[in-house]
Symmetry: D2
Subunit: 355 residues, 4 copies
């Protein structure tokens, strides 16, 4: 079959012909119908330090996907040939402390599709049946493919506790990458009062999309400094600050904005990864503020997925999420997709199975 | 000033002229600008057993209201003359175990406006400053007056724990009285997938309003028996049943429907009051189902009020809630309001200050 | 191998020789080293209506057990021959809504050892590796065998939310069966202030054990009527009532006691099963009280098991739990164990593998 | 009356004679019967940067106290002359967002006794009735005085969510100041499995006290480097790490130890204040770990106080807490108390009312 691979260490990606995968008794084989490019794929493409340490070529890359099941292992009962599925790309051992206590998303022995084992920028992929999430049969395959990042947005807004904060609350979303954009849309869909969005400001597409998603106010870090953004948020919330702030920029300034804009005793979720450690005033940001802080990694398997399914059945949200996919390319033009993202012209890039 | 009173024990209500109330150092005086009729008012009007035991005439009746502050006690700092406020009608001691542990709504020494002390079907009312909730200045006074029942709807959907269930979840609302109607609208506003509504079926207005509120399916107990309703809900939820059911009918059949339609490990909130005790199969309904059940009384003071304020700032919800007020009468026609409700022609009846 | 079976419909149990079980690739074979008799076993022994409807003879009975792993299926990685394990006897499908959202204990397709498939009153038993819980190697096999009911006690005291109520709180445990006794010990171990225990009063052993478990006050329903018990609890809690009540009696009076003794806004967990439906005043008991009610079925798989393991490592609790096992018999005297329980002379009866 | 004051900016404290305070209608006058020295008092004594910015002399210093009510304001109903009370020293406005939503401990307009208004190193003190916490009449006044830091320990272990982690869980307490010591004792009292304590190692008294409090293992940062401590904790927890870590050292190394010793998806509470901002690897410590982090400031008013009362009724804990008070001095020797703490020879210093 056709696939895109990292054949050897170093930047770039190559197209190649490889054997169609075989499945074990507990796996399913999926014909890929829709895919999308994640930030992780960019790290692997550019071969940064993280990628060089983690990736063992040769490896089929890519992980966000949906497709049709074409074969099922003999011990698989709940999935049948013909089902449309997406992959939860975190493959877990189901036996560690975390897996046995409702925290599979941080399994001690996690393997990730397209990172630790062959991924999905291919015609077919084999995945454990436990990782195949059944989609509504009428779901657009590209939307199906981006349920993982949408799940991140949902999980960041609705961590395991204290989540009543969304309804009627004021929310700040820091960082307008694809997940930040989706988080704005989800926050409005879940009954937020005001949703404030902040963005770096270089990517005009994303600034505009933030408004389309429903942000009440959109701040550009190019036009306003951090203090001015925090002041504007305080002024729009009777001086209280937001009830919830979610950090998706991966920028130190974004972190400080999130906490400074937060009301006392409020909640911050951290999803964005920072390029390196930096100086943090924990006293002022977390302790005196009596903040609750959630580090977010992955999505709850599968509580978040059920929520995502339900939310995607709401027409308004589905339309908004579709707009986050600014470009749809045939998968043979994968490198063009990488370049669109690197040039800051795209939000999410979807891929259709034309080889 | 003019007021409607229960002057002596027995059915009915009388108009009278009484002294304008005076306020203590910690109270405020409010000129009533909007009011509404609650089910409790009907009990007092009809003088049923509960009313005969609880009410000590003479008493100004009524409790749902909003108005303008015209005088403030000398120890009141956060309310000023001219503020538009609504009353939280539960007056609490602030010193009991419940008040000191975040549960003022079940204060051990609660007094209720229009039940235990003079109410608000009057030109003016004195209330503790602690019970005066500041409204947005542009809020319709009638909508301001029905924030208490709206708060009940919110509190029933979002009790103190486990509330992530709303987002993307399937919900059943049993009983289409005014609070049930508002609960349908709120559930949709908070990101529910499907919302099922059941109604007795005699009040056509309410059946139609249930659809207007956004119910995906509306069942009439006149047309379908309980088993058929439960089956329909199961069929529409992949056989799982609903994640959350809220009981607002006060009918034994409603209770059973709520639990039978519930998924295993789901959540039920009980707000509707039942006319008398009845036989319940706790094993089947609650224990084997591993259900979480919330008895709901009042609203969280003031967490729920902040949520209601935020939700009412969302135009779509505000419009829906306005439609629950099927009639607006000058307050001098109060008895006409009672009759509209008793004749099953109204949902909520609002009252304007024309004496 | 030797085993006790229900060979045909009807009361009683018979000893027999059967084939040693074989295991699938995902199962383990366990040599039973300790067992105990559960109330469910009594229902099956007596062949009551529930048993007659559920049990399909021939069937090896019994489910509470611990033992040594003597064989593992080829796909099992986390259990090895020689491990000491107990069985979680709820065998779940791992694919339904409940299993995928942290609620395996209410799996839609649950099978129970000794009820729906062969149980453990035998020399060997085959169980899914997912159901084999590794014990500390020095754990007494009889204590290992009663971790399921101990888990019920823990799960009843610590349901999924709101559990900070135990620390420094006042607790009522209604019903002094083995799980009620264990619940008293666990509540004291988790930092409760006062623990009140109520018992039917006919079983003197259990009344005495309640004090040994650490109950501050023990009430006998033979000596005090319900109102007197509730009043005594109110008087010992500054008139507030208990913060948490857990119902383990399965008696209608126990239910009412639990709620009447409860503080406003408190929490009740229901574990005891009632012989038949009965009249309940939901308004007074649940709604006006703004109670949170948890129906409890099973134990969280495996959050509760981890907690049980940690708690059993505390010497004081382990000693108390050992005392709940009032009798230890060779398993060949199984019927004598049934009779001890039926004659109200025992709390928990443990069984050692002498055939 | 006699009192210790900061009469003018600068280090030190002076004894003086001042007017006995008068009370408003909502205050009570308390005769101080027991007091204790807090770390905050040391900052004020030494006149560090924080103190110089915050304190406006002249000011009576000190805040941890208990005493007898000798006069009550005319609007005070729940406190009477003769009651033994302690002060919650956070005086709140009761009208801000935080006060109205269960978060008085982070009131937007908080005033602190002995910091923002006259404190309690005096014969008498006037406090709002809302801040007077009634003690059991037989409580040792010195223990009564240290309920605030004990409340900090409880609040750090039991923040508003997710607190079931204590029961049967493994806990690390980083930092053996008085609150760290109390946290060890409380964690064991709440059913923890293993409790690990780490200390700087210079204060031998505190190292020994950590064992007295019930720590299973006590690590000295003088004897083991950070990696060795983390490895020891991992080794003692089957390689999982602790379920909960609480940071009370205020040292950057303590922060890193807390998160490195934490199991994936675990919980960290931060109470210790850091001398200045420092570089933090949020990706590794919080995000990839999917940690929940609670900044802790103060105690829940008054949920934590009720828990503290209940816990202090347990004899074993009360004995342990008494041992944290390593020195009891007549208050006239206050400066000797400061010196004992500064010389690292004391844990908590209690003060009795001998002037």
């Amino acid at each position: 079959m056709e696939a895109f691979l990292k054949k050897k260490p170093g930047p770039g990606v190559e197209r190649g012909t490889v054997d169609k995968p075989t499945i074990s008794d507990t796996e399913v084989l999926v014909e890929v119908k829709g895919a999308a490019i994640c930030g992780t794929d960019i790290h692997i493409y550019l071969w940064d330090e993280w990628a060089a340490n983690r990736i063992k070529p040769p490896l089929i890359v890519g992980h966000e996907m949906s497709g049709k099941v074409v074969e099922v292992g003999k011990d698989v009962n709940h999935i049948i040939v013909g089902n449309m599925v997406s992959a939860e790309t975190h493959i877990v051992d189901q036996t560690c402390l975390q897996c046995l206590t409702g925290r599979k998303h941080v399994c001690q022995n996690m393997k990730i599709l397209g990172v630790d084992r062959d991924g999905i920028f291919a015609e077919y992929v084999a995945i454990p049946a436990h990782n195949a999430w059944k989609n509504d049969s009428d779901l657009d395959p590209i939307i199906g493919a981006i349920q993982e990042p949408l799940g991140n947005a949902v999980q960041t807004l609705l961590p395991i506790n204290n989540v009543e904060d969304i309804a009627g609350r004021n929310i700040a979303v820091i960082g307008m990458g694809p997940i930040g954009l989706m988080a704005v849309a989800v926050a409005k869909e879940l009954g937020a009062d005001k949703v404030f969005a902040t963005a770096g400001g270089r990517n005009k597409t994303r600034m505009e999309l933030a408004r389309t998603m429903g942000a009440d106010e959109v701040f550009s870090a190019r036009e306003l400094d951090r203090d001015a953004i925090v002041k504007a948020i305080q002024d729009s919330t009777d001086g209280n600050g937001v009830d919830v702030a979610i950090e998706m920029s991966g920028h130190p300034d974004g972190l400080v904005t999130a906490f400074e804009a937060l009301t006392l005793g409020g909640r911050v979720s951290l999803l964005g990864l920072f390029p390196q450690p930096f100086e943090v005033d924990l006293n002022r940001l977390m302790i005196f503020k009596a903040a609750t802080v959630y580090g977010v990694s992955g999505r709850l398997m599968y509580r978040t997925w059920f929520q995502v399914r339900g939310l995607l059945r709401r027409p308004k949200l589905r339309e908004k999420i579709a707009k986050v996919v600014t470009h749809r390319l045939p998968i043979k033009e994968l490198e063009q997709g990488y370049k669109l993202i690197l040039s800051k012209k795209a939000a999410k890039v979807g891929l259709t199975p034309q080889w």
